[in-house]
Subunit: 212 residues, 2 copies
């Protein structure tokens, strides 16, 4: 896709133009975007005409700031892209877990029944997320159900965030420990049934998970 004044607007935002006036020159900007200084001058004028930036010339160069309307424009585009990219579809590849899932599902089973409304099959389906880049990207706009942690026989089990999902027509949930900071690469899915068996899945199969 050809470069446009949108690229310039994003560059100005990255350079700090949202919060304050920045001092720059069309030569400097032209180098950064790899277009001619004339093109930059024209784009700056376009952006100003559209009310997205304000600019004034000084002896040292051009003072530019992004207007409130400009910020709104960028925010709207960001939101549209979020909607477009993260529409609640996760694509992943079935992988084998290390068998720990079953143990944890058993411990949380009464709470899963209480908070999610189903008796979980004791085991998780592990899926390596291919799209989007991380599970967190996919789940950013989904409201989690928080399964509260508890202590049992001296062992502490932390809060778990559960996100309702559907695979084919089976409803289940992706479960992530609340204390996890890094986006996990593997989505662990619980469901009322043995998903691997019911959906006849084997390692390497591609599946589509829909968030609810």
């Amino acid at each position: 896709m050809k470069k446009s004044n949108l690229d310039l607007l994003i560059l100005l935002a990255k350079a700090g133009g949202i919060e304050k006036e920045i001092l720059t020159t069309s030569r400097e900007l032209s180098k950064m975007l790899n277009v001619s200084p004339q093109t930059i001058v024209r784009w700056l004028e376009d952006l100003e005409k559209d009310g997205l930036i304000k600019k004034s010339e000084s002896r040292k160069g051009t003072l530019v700031t992004i207007t409130e309307e400009g910020v709104k424009f960028l925010e709207k585009l960001h939101e549209e892209l979020s909607d477009a990219l993260y529409r609640g579809i996760i694509i992943g590849e079935v992988v084998s877990g290390i068998g720990e899932g079953a143990y944890y599902v058993r411990q949380y089973a009464p709470l899963i029944r209480e908070y999610l409304g189903f008796d979980p099959y004791p085991g998780t389906l592990n899926v390596r997320v291919i799209f989007p880049k991380t599970i967190f990207d996919a789940l950013c706009n989904v409201r989690p159900i928080i399964i509260p942690g508890f202590t049992k026989e001296g062992r502490t089990f932390g809060d778990v965030r559960a996100y309702r999902v559907k695979i084919d027509n089976i409803e289940g949930a992706i479960v992530i420990p609340s204390r996890t900071i890094h986006p996990p690469k593997i989505a662990e899915i619980i469901a009322p049934v043995n998903l691997r068996k019911t959906l006849n899945l084997k390692d390497g199969d591609r599946i589509r998970i829909k968030t609810l």
Copy 2:
């Protein structure tokens, strides 16, 4: 800013073109984007030439799917906008809390010392977030420090997520209970000093918070 083939690409993504082939017509797309069908035909050709979509004609209309390259393009733009918009700057307005902050800061004080490395002033500075739209937007890419919950005199205090920030030159932290699902409108900030007094702030003052 003028509409372009980027708008069309986003529309196709929203319509489901990322995961599968969608059936559409240039007339239908032209209505949705409020441009002429001829423009749509040209944009579709541009997008195909750039390798961002694949299309084929059928008797019922045009079958379109976004290529892997097209998805990468949208993801990159989304990331750039995230960087540009959420560069770790939060702009907000000082407001009065209801005085609960002091109580909680006292309870967590030993853990704040342990996890954040400072003795907190017993009180929080409350800031109504103006930019970005929510605190979560601003903190999405910041790694939190998780202050673990505890029980004291029969009362349970949950995990707290702390995000290191700087206001003027004072380092502190935004603190958010881990179980919070909705993005709070108010950022509660702790610091080694009484921020309101040290920075001479009163209700309604605008401040800039920088995440670290």
